[in-house]
């Protein structure tokens, strides 16, 4: 499992130069091909992307950034799957909210029932249904990052 962790490309683009710091997007999905797709889709946008493969590693990653000041000590956006081994997305959201109440959090999931949507919105997060178009994903990410 740890082989997948933080294996996503930390893409070095010259965008975001205005703010002096590249926006940090953390992607959590247990599916290798989905993580790769997110990284490819957002590659041209010039964000720093960290990919993790479970809810637990997502929480660990967020904690490291916030506590140790990696990447400027700020997580700008989290994109996560709901169904993941070890710790699912909902539990990860709870724990992330305990660390920081304001990080924009987007779930990309293939199956969300109304109960899940309610629970998600109670934590100020949102749900996008799979399949998601890359253009749509990029637009949502840009909006959430205030760009």
């Amino acid at each position: 499992m740890s082989a997948h962790d933080a294996e996503g490309p930390e893409l070095d683009h010259s965008a975001n130069a205005r703010s002096g710091r590249k926006k940090l997007v953390v992607v959590a999905d247990d599916d290798d091909s989905m993580r790769e797709l997110f990284a490819l889709a957002l590659a041209t946008e010039g964000y720093t992307i960290i990919s993790v493969s479970s809810g637990r590693t997502l929480v660990d990653q967020v904690r490291r950034v916030l506590a140790d000041g990696e990447h400027g000590g700020i997580v700008d956006l989290i994109i996560s799957d709901i169904h993941m081994p070890e710790m699912d997305g909902m539990r990860a959201l709870e724990q992330v909210r305990a660390l920081d109440a304001r990080i924009p959090f987007i779930f990309v999931t293939a199956f969300s029932d109304p109960a899940t949507r309610n629970a998600v919105s109670a934590y100020q997060a949102e749900v996008i249904d799979k399949p998601v178009q890359l253009q749509q994903l990029r637009a949502v990410v840009r909006t959430r990052l205030g760009m």
Binding site: D31, V132, Q135
Partner: protein
């Protein structure tokens, strides 16, 4: 005849119907009777009613045969064959009664004869009408109960379909998203040759993944069938495990087979039961990422009472000393698409398919597990009497 007092509750709940219905009294009587009569007590009550009428006849010196010969058959006729039948019997009985009177030369004034005949006929017709309404009520209740049971079954099926749909959406949604995303990548930018190769390869991989899921779904929903023959589970376990030896040893696991001393024969489709055993062994191996021992055991189990009949089973169990199953997950392990394995390792259909196969055979599959200590899956197949 007993006339019940008005029923305020009934009036409150159905005022419109009460007001419009011409037979308000009749309605009230029927609804009063309805609430007191059940399919169980209606026949004894009819019999007691007849008995009381007979005693009444006897004590008042009236001909007991009337009740016994006419009234009782008419009531039974109305119950079992319907109102029309009962009414015909009543008419015949009245005619019979008149004829008997005539033949025995009972000389009564004509007015009394007419009065008696009309009274007897009216009494019998009222009895027929009451019994007929009761019978219809009982039948309607029975139909409603059947309907309710059918609806429950339907709801159960819908739950399974709902679960399946959620599973299908989840399992197919991800590869579909990956395929669509890579197609978009290829279409939008001017892709490099490396990107083209990478994306097309990913698309192909994902379509293969979807094909596997669909094939397993078809397996899961397959119709019951296939030839069932006498199968010795000892032989089946030996051959099935032989095929898996390489896989098991590659995963640094050990396979132990403990066979019952006598043949464990069941009526089964050998290929399907082999599939079940293979599934269970693969699961056991996957539950032991650090290696361990898989034990396959066959046994005979006697005398389990099923509906008063003793049934014996051929048992096949697979035990591992792996990670075990969390108590919260135990109830869901046989649900379609339930899996705790990583993506690509399990689709969550193996145990559902196994459950379906074992159920088709009239058997059970159950699981005992202790997190951190391992799990045992036991398949019980009825041995049949032939």
């Amino acid at each position: 005849m007993f006339v019940p007092s008005p029923l305020p509750r009934e009036r409150e709940t159905r005022p419109a119907r009460q007001a419009r219905s011409p037979g308000v009294l009749g309605e009230r009587i029927v609804s009063w009777i309805r609430r007191r009569l059940t399919p169980k007590n209606v026949v004894p009550i009819t019999l007691v009613w007849t008995l009381i009428a007979m005693v009444g006849d006897y004590t008042t010196n009236v001909d007991v045969r009337f009740t016994l010969v006419y009234f009782f058959p008419i009531v039974l006729g109305a119950w079992f064959r319907g109102g029309a039948w009962g009414s015909c019997l009543a008419a015949l009985a009245t005619a019979g009664s008149l004829l008997t009177d005539h033949m025995t030369e009972v000389s009564l004034p004509t007015g009394i004869v007419i009065w008696n005949t009309a009274g007897v006929l009216a009494m019998m017709l009222v009895a027929v009408w009451t019994i007929d309404r009761l019978k219809r009520f009982v039948d309607a209740e029975e139909r409603e109960r059947h309907l309710a049971v059918e609806q429950l079954r339907h709801a159960g099926r819908l739950t399974i379909i709902g679960k399946l749909a959620a599973g299908v959406a989840h399992e197919l949604g991800t590869p579909l998203n990956v395929i669509a995303g890579h197609a978009e990548l290829l279409a939008m930018t001017e892709p490099s040759p490396a990107r083209i190769t990478g994306s097309t390869q990913t698309i192909l991989q994902q379509t293969t993944r979807m094909t596997v899921i669909i094939r397993q779904l078809l397996d899961f929903g397959r119709k019951q069938g296939g030839e069932r023959v006498r199968v010795n589970l000892n032989t089946l376990a030996t051959t099935a495990t032989k095929m898996l030896e390489t896989m098991v040893s590659k995963a640094e696991c050990e396979l132990e087979i403990v066979l019952a001393s006598s043949p464990v024969e069941v009526e089964a489709n050998a290929r399907e039961i082999e599939q079940v055993l293979t599934n269970l062994i693969i699961n056991a191996v996957q539950a032991m990422p650090k290696g361990g021992k898989v034990q396959v055991r066959t046994a005979l189990e006697y005398a389990t009472e099923v509906q008063g009949r003793s049934v014996s089973y051929g048992c096949l169990s697979v035990t591992d000393d792996g990670v075990g199953i969390a108590e919260a997950d135990l109830a869901r392990v046989f649900d379609p698409f339930f899996t705790t394995k990583e993506v690509g390792v399990g689709t969550g259909l193996g145990l559902s398919v196994s459950y379906g196969i074992v159920s088709d055979h009239g058997g059970h599959i159950d699981v005992q597990s202790k997190p951190g200590h391992g799990s045992t899956f036991t398949v019980r197949l009825p041995r049949g009497e032939r």
